[in-house]
Point group: none
Chain length 509, copies 2
């Protein structure tokens, strides 16, 4: 664990921390209201909720751009020893303030209005399977996001437009770092997927398909999450239209799920995925709650935690040796299943159209497609008029499938309607990091398969707590990765894991 | 309905309303977080929740005491026609600002933190039946509330500490007005209760006692609340330790309940009570949401709405002529009951320990007890060390019963843990007003018994919407009462109602 109980905060930092506590409280309040809205709010509460959330966001922005906060940051900076915790607090506070002040209020308001409208037209366009319905609003969101990115570049926050976009979600990561990583990965993945598909193996999925009563799915999911270390005394599991994790300090981190009635996988792996996110949030140092460096360091690191538990743990044979008797206890009619029958069904390789339903081998190709298209959009070489063709061509080239409709293609994700460009790469960075962390944990803890088969998840969680969760944003993400794994982020561990898995199911090349 | 769609707001009032919207948003956010805390929050969320609520309260206080708001109020005042809506906005805004500026920000934050902690220790103390568990937090809450009251007195808002407490919940009401009203009522009630008990009639309660499965209780409660006009699309019903209603604008007004497994009455009348409160909140003019006069005018008026539905409607013979077949549908084993058997069981006169389970005749004696104890606590003649004895002695004197435990005595109410001293008298004011409003509604609508027996609750609700709910805080409570009933608030209607009911069950004196 970090030096969280170490030297007391200098008096010069008190004002910074006091002001930050208010900003954090406004964010936490907004997060509680967001959870409420997605899970329990009655329908007629929507207009009032929109007003309250918008007011809270405005108040947080007002607090973040208050010159007195900037002065408090500089006062703290003046006494911060290089490399100290306080220096990290100053770094994180400065970053947030610089971002908030870089964008003129008019532009921020225009983007908020444009995305609010675009969310509605995106939903309609998807329902009507017609990109033209969404195109004018999408054009406006892209234009405003470009202006925003240009403002960040002008403020010296990023070197290029796409860097500015990435920086919101993955601080310190640049287009120049992501592009070669994804290009290499793309070539390897196309080869792996092509080889697996070419082998003509038909995987029997019947062990995890067919009727699974929801009560059993929920009970099994709760048992697995508890075994992982998710603390239900500091969280909840509820149903929602789209699964998510939201935390308001380490003492209250909630997850949601949805399920399929005839397939175990969406429910179980949804719960493990969100519980993985939640373990990160529950493991943040309580002493740092509400301070600039108290939160998760980046979306990529967050995603590494969900993917590690979902894929590296949850889809492994070793995990199922532990899980199988529990699975059968919840689904007695599945007593005839075996781990050998279940494991292959968790690793089908099947190029498909929809990102959120993609398997582990093809998933990152969906991300590569979005990355290439976003770079073209923001580099000026692609316009919204040609977006559908570009999307379909990219899918055909990467995955060998061509969307028969816009709804199953370019209109499938909510992100662009929200102006969240530069977000998609964090999913792949998370996948790569998950494997790299898992290997590093294995080097220290020994045989992870043996641990998992014994249900000794606290060992693995302890390693993640010491090496990831407990550091919150104490170190920038690239430094955290090197400290935890001994190397910069790369694709090797992920590719080793993927090749081994695919080989186990589809046979050697 | 009021003139809510009438003349547009003058430009001079825009800034007042814009600033008020932020303050209202902070209050609404706090209310959502409060509901969450009472119903769904995991236990380890408490410390973080305390911090967030405290920060929101501090921010609201900061906004309320911003000199720019005071200037905006005066700018609006300068153009407000006497008696206009804008004049009412100015009056309500001024009142809130004057109260807020009287209390230093540090004190407001300290009280928010202390009450958040006290809520938890109160719950534990009640579970463990040990006042000592709660005493330190209670002492701190009393101390901070005294400091707050003294600040109001110093600012000239109130003449005495207890006036300052009352003013928060029942603006314009003073200890000097409440004390004689309660003293008179006390004498009348002691007489009525004494006579009823002395008659030696044993009321058969078996029609509403014995097993009542909770699923049936909830379904029956929902059916009754819906018939009253409570809109479940703009609300929810959940379980909580102590029933309450909370609203975040008219589109989201939530109620909670608890129940007894072997008695219909606590659950049913808890739901009707809270639904009565909720009808007021759901009936507030949406156009005024988030403005100074947009909320309920006082707690006494609020309580009149809950009591009207719970007691004047829900315990009447006429209501049960409508309700009985529905009751039997939910509890088929009660098919042998009759309205004639049920009605007396809703009007037993029986001095008892628990306020929220008290009958209509003795209820206000519970309030008199709390009023006397609070005056002693805040007058300095009673300390927390002697609180249990004082409570037990008062109960023995007023009701002839002595609590065998703290849980059934001094620890029974949530209010003091929340710092809500001066709140209890509003229950009695509400009881008196409920009867006075019900008589007035009958003068306009004709035979209310016939309406209720026919299930024509919308008629009664419509009268309340026109005469109470739709006015929000447009008129001060005393003026609202005179407009609605043609007379100032008094005890006559309540005593007429009570004597008639007791006579029906226990026979004439």
């Amino acid at each position: 664990m970090p030096d969280s109980a170490a030297p007391p905060v200098p008096a010069a930092a008190h004002e910074l921390l006091a002001r930050w506590a208010d900003i954090a409280a406004l964010h936490d309040a907004g997060a509680v209201l967001g959870w409420d809205q997605e899970t329990v709010m009655p329908p007629k509460g929507q207009p009032g909720r929109g007003r309250v959330l918008s007011a809270l966001a405005g108040l947080a922005h007002e607090k973040l751009t208050d010159p007195a906060l900037a002065a408090a940051i500089e006062a703290a900076a003046a006494v911060a020893e290089p490399g100290s915790e306080l220096a990290a607090q100053v770094r994180e506070a400065r970053r947030a303030v610089t971002r908030a002040t870089a964008v003129p209020g008019d532009l921020a308001r225009a983007k908020a209005e444009a995305t609010s409208a675009a969310l509605v037209t995106w939903q309609r366009a998807r329902a009507e399977d017609d990109l033209a319905v969404f195109a004018p609003d999408l054009r406006r969101v892209i234009d405003l996001t470009m202006q925003e990115a240009d403002a960040y570049v002008a403020a010296g926050i990023a070197a290029t437009r796409y860097d500015a976009l990435l920086d919101e979600f993955e601080p310190g990561m640049t287009e120049a770092m992501v592009a070669p990583l994804l290009a290499d990965l793309r070539d390897e993945l196309v080869g792996i997927v092509h080889a697996a598909v070419g082998r003509g193996v038909a995987v029997d999925e019947s062990a995890v398909t067919g009727p699974f009563p929801v009560a059993g799915q929920e009970a099994f999911g709760r048992e697995v999450a508890t075994a992982m270390g998710y603390d239900f005394e500091a969280g909840r599991l509820d149903a929602s239209a789209h699964p998510f994790t939201t935390g308001f300090g380490p003492g209250d981190v909630r997850i949601t799920w949805r399920w399929a009635d005839d397939d175990l996988r969406p429910g179980l792996y949804g719960v493990m995925h969100e519980a993985g996110h939640a373990l990160y949030e529950q493991g943040l140092p309580p002493a740092w709650a509400g301070t600039p460096m108290g939160g998760a360091v980046s979306l990529g690191v967050h995603e590494s935690q969900s993917r590690l538990w979902e894929n590296l743990v949850g889809r492994s044979e070793a995990f199922w040796r532990w899980a199988h008797p529990r699975f059968v206890a919840h689904f007695p009619d599945r007593a005839g299943t075996t781990v050998d029958a279940i494991h292959p069904a968790l690793h089908t390789v099947r190029p498909s159209l929809i990102r959120v339903e993609a398997d582990e081998a093809t998933y990152n190709l969906h991300i590569v497609a979005r990355f290439e298209i976003e770079r073209a959009l923001f580099g000026g070489s692609l316009g919204v008029d040609d977006l559908r063709d570009a999307w379909d061509d990219t899918y055909e080239a990467l995955l060998g499938v061509r969307p028969p409709s816009a709804a199953d293609g370019v209109l499938q994700d909510i992100h662009w309607s929200m102006g969240a460009f530069g977000y998609f790469p964090t999913y792949t960075l998370g996948n790569l990091l998950a494997a790299q962390l898992f290997e590093a944990a294995g080097r220290e803890l020994g045989d992870l398969d043996a641990l998992m088969a014994a249900g000794d998840f606290p060992e693995l969680l302890g390693w993640l707590r010491r090496n990831v969760h407990g550091h919150a944003s104490r170190y920038p993400a690239p430094e955290l990765v090197e400290r935890a794994t001994g190397a910069p982020l790369g694709a090797d561990a992920f590719l080793r894991h993927l090749r081994a898995t695919v080989e186990a199911v589809y046979g050697a090349a």
